[in-house]
């Protein structure tokens, strides 16, 4: 986003709407929950990696529009096996299978005999 300054706020999220990296709308609480938690989350505006341009409303990837990219691919001759946005399932279908980025990473410090630690990195 185009904000030059930023400041961290702690927001209450009991329903767990947010994931790490999302852009969300927050509101000031009437009564402060703790010393740090001062706000609550109203809604998720843009999930991570699925952002829309607020002026035109078109979905975009980093700096480019998705439509422009697809048009460019078609001019070159689009591949049949390439990724298609319309057929893609919603975000989070790889969570717990091959994508373990929703958990906090740590280094293995004990060799458990009976439990797997897919999010832990090897020494």
């Amino acid at each position: 986003m185009y904000f030059p300054k930023f400041y961290p706020y702690y927001a209450h999220d009991p329903d767990k709407l947010c994931k790490v990296g999302d852009i969300a709308l927050i509101e000031l609480l009437e009564k402060q929950l703790t010393r740090d938690i001062t706000h609550k989350i109203l809604q998720v505006v843009y999930p991570m990696g699925d952002v829309k341009d607020p002026l035109t409303g078109k979905p975009c990837v980093a700096v480019e529009f998705r439509d422009d990219m697809e048009r460019r691919d078609q001019l070159w001759g689009k591949n049949e096996n390439a990724f298609n946005y319309d057929e893609a399932p919603p975000r989070g279908w790889q969570e717990g299978r091959k994508d373990w980025s929703h958990k906090k990473g740590y280094k293995r410090w004990h060799d458990y005999s009976d439990r797997d630690q897919p999010e832990a990195s090897w020494p």
Binding site: N79, N81, R108
Partner: protein, 303 residues
């Protein structure tokens, strides 16, 4: 000041005697320097995790090996002339196949096959390369090097390849993380097609024995605490049932008295509440199953 024990004595105790016994014998009058073996050392067994090389699939996150090279494939240069080569006799056809070429030529074909599953258009990489194709190149190269480094001993000692694998794994992770921030759906699709396991970054920290043993003890203490509290809570809940039954009988007597005196019952709401609580408690005692065997218990051997 007490005299220090020399280390050589601790290492090599005289025959038959254990180390601690010998120390006691040495410093029987000055008992401060005796090494104390804590009880927890016999309870908790800490196992140091194994150190893996960078080309290991568990560490790099490659869930599939390299596709095996078929000797009947044509080399990449001769693939456009496939129809022309088929007209030749069989012995001459062999000259154009991968079987009569270097290993590099076979892997070049595998590169081209993986690009076809992933890349955006026909001329991807001509002007600018997409991230998908970059990641595909990295994966094939890593899996290729993994086969080489698990091969004969001369290849295993190649330091240049070992260094290259480390760089490639980290670079691939960098690109994947970049794609994740830009376009999450495509990132998930790419992981599925190439079968890569993506892990979050971990802080760099050294593993020490003492730290990890303290962690294990904390885990064990918390589990014992929670188990004991649960058992104690069940005991207390059992005592609630006869108390509430007594309460119900007394309340009903009061209600009957009030009815006889033709008054409005003041205990009506309390009776409903107590009945609800009793039902809840009786249900829990039927539904509750014995507590699960904890995960730590397999690692722990009680003396």
């Amino acid at each position: 000041m007490l005299p220090r024990l020399s280390r050589s004595i601790l290492r090599r105790p005289p025959g038959g005697q254990s180390c601690t016994q010998y120390c006691e014998y040495e410093t029987s009058t000055k008992a401060k320097n005796i090494p104390v073996i804590h009880e927890l050392q016999s309870i908790i067994k800490w196992r140091r995790p194994q150190k893996l090389p960078f080309w290991d699939p568990q560490k790099s996150g490659d869930l599939k090996p390299l596709t095996p090279i078929d000797p009947n494939w044509l080399k990449l240069e001769y693939q456009p002339f496939k129809e022309l080569i088929e007209t030749l006799p069989k012995e001459h056809q062999k000259l154009f196949t991968v079987d009569f070429a270097a290993r590099k030529d076979g892997i070049r074909v595998i590169h081209e096959q993986t690009y076809k599953t992933v890349r955006r258009h026909k001329y991807d990489g001509l002007v600018e390369q997409s991230i998908e194709q970059k990641v595909a190149w990295f994966t094939v190269r890593i899996r290729d090097l993994r086969e080489i480094l698990n091969g004969p001993l001369i290849q295993r000692k190649n330091g240049i390849f070992k260094n290259e694998v480390k760089i490639l794994v980290e670079k691939r992770k960098k690109w994947l993380n970049h794609l994740r921030h830009i376009d999450y759906k495509r990132f998930e699709w790419l992981i599925e097609t190439l079968s890569i396991l993506f892990k979050p970054n971990a802080k760099f920290e050294k593993i020490h024995r003492k730290e990890s043993v303290t962690k294990l003890t904390d885990m064990l203490c918390e589990e014992i605490k929670s188990r004991k509290l649960g058992e104690y809570k069940l005991e207390l809940d059992e005592q609630k049932i006869p108390f509430l039954e007594e309460k119900l009988t007394i309340l009903k007597e009061i209600q009957a008295d009030e009815e006889s005196m033709k008054l409005t019952s003041s205990v009506k709401d309390e009776i409903i509440e107590t009945e609800k609580r009793l039902e809840k408690l009786r249900k829990t005692f039927i539904e509750i199953q014995p507590l699960k065997e904890t995960i730590l218990e397999s690692d722990v051997v009680f003396s």
